[in-house]
């Protein structure tokens, strides 16, 4: 159990760091936004493992869900504006 937990944590950590690098270095903006959302999402899984379901829910709903939408909205607005 504990070993599984630990392995899962390590995996999550590695995945988050990887996603974080994609978010700051990736070429395309949508992918960067999605990668940042992924970091958030993985963080919320980690929160569950850390016995914090409230935080996990909030991070998933707000940190990864809403925030990602906000980014895409703005991105959409700017794209729309570019052709003006």
């Amino acid at each position: 159990m504990s070993v599984l937990f630990l392995a899962l944590t390590v995996l999550l950590a590695v995945a988050m760091i990887g996603a974080a690098f994609v978010a700051i270095l990736g070429k395309s903006m949508p992918i960067a936004i999605l990668a940042a959302g992924l970091v958030s999402l993985l963080a919320s899984v980690l929160f569950l493992l850390l016995a914090s379901p409230d935080v996990a829910m909030t991070e998933a709903a707000i940190g990864s869900g809403l925030t990602t939408f906000l980014f895409f909205f703005i991105l959409g607005r700017m794209r729309g504006g570019e052709h003006d």
């Binding site: 379901p53 409230d54 829910m57 709903a61 909205f73 703005i74 729309g80």
Partner: protein, 232 residues
């Protein structure tokens, strides 16, 4: 290049600082005074099963009020920013109509999602979740409606009303706490009830419902503003 190098160098210093924190950190073997008090007393004093909720709504209620205000502020300012020099041509902007599936689907789904949100915040004192999560879910329902029809006449007025009223009632409940119970935002203005029941934990469900409505309204306002479907 110089900037990157400087950033790396300075961040290395910060990393050293963090490393010191990390390596000196030792988890507490026992709950500390504050946490212990909450663990021992929450059930009896507040009557909420979810201790985090008890802390968020009652013990640290002032923080939460501030937090709600942060969102209120963010919504207000986003509105202000985007209202500045708003271009009249937005209506002429080509808007790709949403697919039929999304349009009807959202009509059907949105109320359900909102209901889920309500469920999350009224059960905040019992299970994980609460006003903020519920509010976010409500807002995502709104989001769906937005996506289905971007130029939908989105009632800012209604959102503003919901937000204002729930905020004022929240503050009023806080002040009632001074008058009827032990202090500002004391949840004992209503009876504690039975631990684990829906109507328990004093005013917590009420407050969390107000927070849920308010947060939902605020997020919706932000989303609506940013998506560019505001009234023109």
């Amino acid at each position: 290049m110089i900037r990157k190098f400087a950033a790396l160098l300075i961040l290395a210093g910060i990393a050293a600082l963090f490393m010191e924190l990390l390596f000196t950190y030792q988890p507490d073997p026992e709950l500390n005074t504050t946490a212990r008090y909450y663990a021992d007393r929450t059930a009896a004093d507040i009557g909420a099963a979810n201790i985090v909720t008890a802390i968020v709504v009652t013990y640290r209620g002032l923080d939460t009020l501030g937090e709600v205000t942060v969102l209120f502020l963010a919504a207000a300012i986003v509105g202000l920013v985007l209202a500045q020099g708003r271009r009249k041509t937005a209506k002429e902007r080509a808007v790709t109509p949403a697919g039929e599936l999304l349009a009807t689907g959202s009509l059907f789904l949105a109320p359900l999602i909102m209901l889920l949100g309500v469920y999350v915040f009224v059960n905040g004192h019992l299970t994980p979740g609460g006003g903020f999560q519920g509010g976010a879910i409500i807002a995502s329902g709104m989001l769906l409606m937005l996506l289905a029809d971007p130029l939908k006449h989105f009632s800012h007025r209604l959102i503003a009303m919901v937000e204002a009223l729930s905020g004022m009632i929240y503050v009023a409940i806080g002040l009632l706490g001074i008058a009827l119970a032990g202090g500002f935002l004391d949840s004992h203005i209503l009876p504690n009830g039975e631990l684990g029941a829906l109507f328990s934990a004093g005013a917590i469900p009420l407050i969390y419902a107000l927070i849920g409505l308010k947060v939902g309204a605020e997020f919706s306002a932000i989303l609506a503003d940013l998506s560019g479907t505001e009234e023109l």
